[in-house]
């Protein structure tokens, strides 16, 4: 019971970190970094809290399967999006941009 509450609190914390990173980070690649790691950990912690709550059963196995799928799929999709951005020429953010250079490709 206490462990479930602790896992849920930790999961909510990491989800909040991911959402804050998406809101506040300065460019696309840093936002990608926030989502890829913090949110994956939040998914695994949420699923662990649910599994501990329902106890050992087929349902727990299914929740574990959803968590395993998201654990593999979330980094894969963020990697694909990041690679697509890099190949279309979106340039990473720098603290002191070169004078006259564009800050990065923007869509129309």
């Amino acid at each position: 019971m206490l462990l479930v509450v602790l896992l849920a609190a930790a999961a909510l914390f990491f989800h909040a970190v991911a959402a804050l990173g998406v809101l506040r980070m300065p460019d696309f690649y840093t936002r990608l970094h926030a989502v890829a790691k913090a949110e994956t950990l939040g998914v695994v912690l949420t699923a662990a809290a649910l599994i501990l709550s329902v106890g050992p059963s087929l349902l727990a196995l299914k929740i574990g399967f959803v968590a395993l799928f998201l654990f593999l799929a979330n980094p894969t999709s963020t990697h694909a999006i990041g690679r697509a951005a890099l190949r279309t020429g979106l340039r990473p953010w720098q603290r002191e941009p070169v004078t006259g250079a564009p800050q990065g490709a923007r869509d129309e």
């Binding site: 998406v22 696309f28 989502v35 959803v66 999709s77």
Partner: protein, 91 residues
């Protein structure tokens, strides 16, 4: 065994946090920011499905829904990333 108020509160917290991804989906400067917002939105919504199922004591039904939703979001995100890697419809 766990009181459903815990999962209800967690689902409410995730519903608040999902607005960050919706903001990035609506206002992201590049098209890849929008894709990232869609991907994060899909992952968080899958978890909200699971938590709502735990609140309603019908988790055996909601877990199948969330698994199908996660699969659809993953395939869609990969397809959209591959499409915009080629330059989208403009080029």
């Amino acid at each position: 065994m766990t009181p459903p108020a815990l999962f209800l509160g967690m689902a409410a917290g995730l519903l608040v946090l999902v607005t960050a991804y919706l903001y990035r989906l609506a206002a992201g400067p590049t098209v890849f920011d929008r894709l990232l917002g869609l991907s994060g939105f899909g992952t968080t919504t899958t978890l909200i499905f699971l938590l709502i199922g735990a609140v309603y004591e019908r988790l055996d039904m909601f877990v199948d829904v969330s698994l199908a939703y996660a699969l659809l979001m993953f395939i869609g995100s990969l397809a959209a990333a591959r499409y915009f890697e080629r330059g989208g419809a403009g080029r």
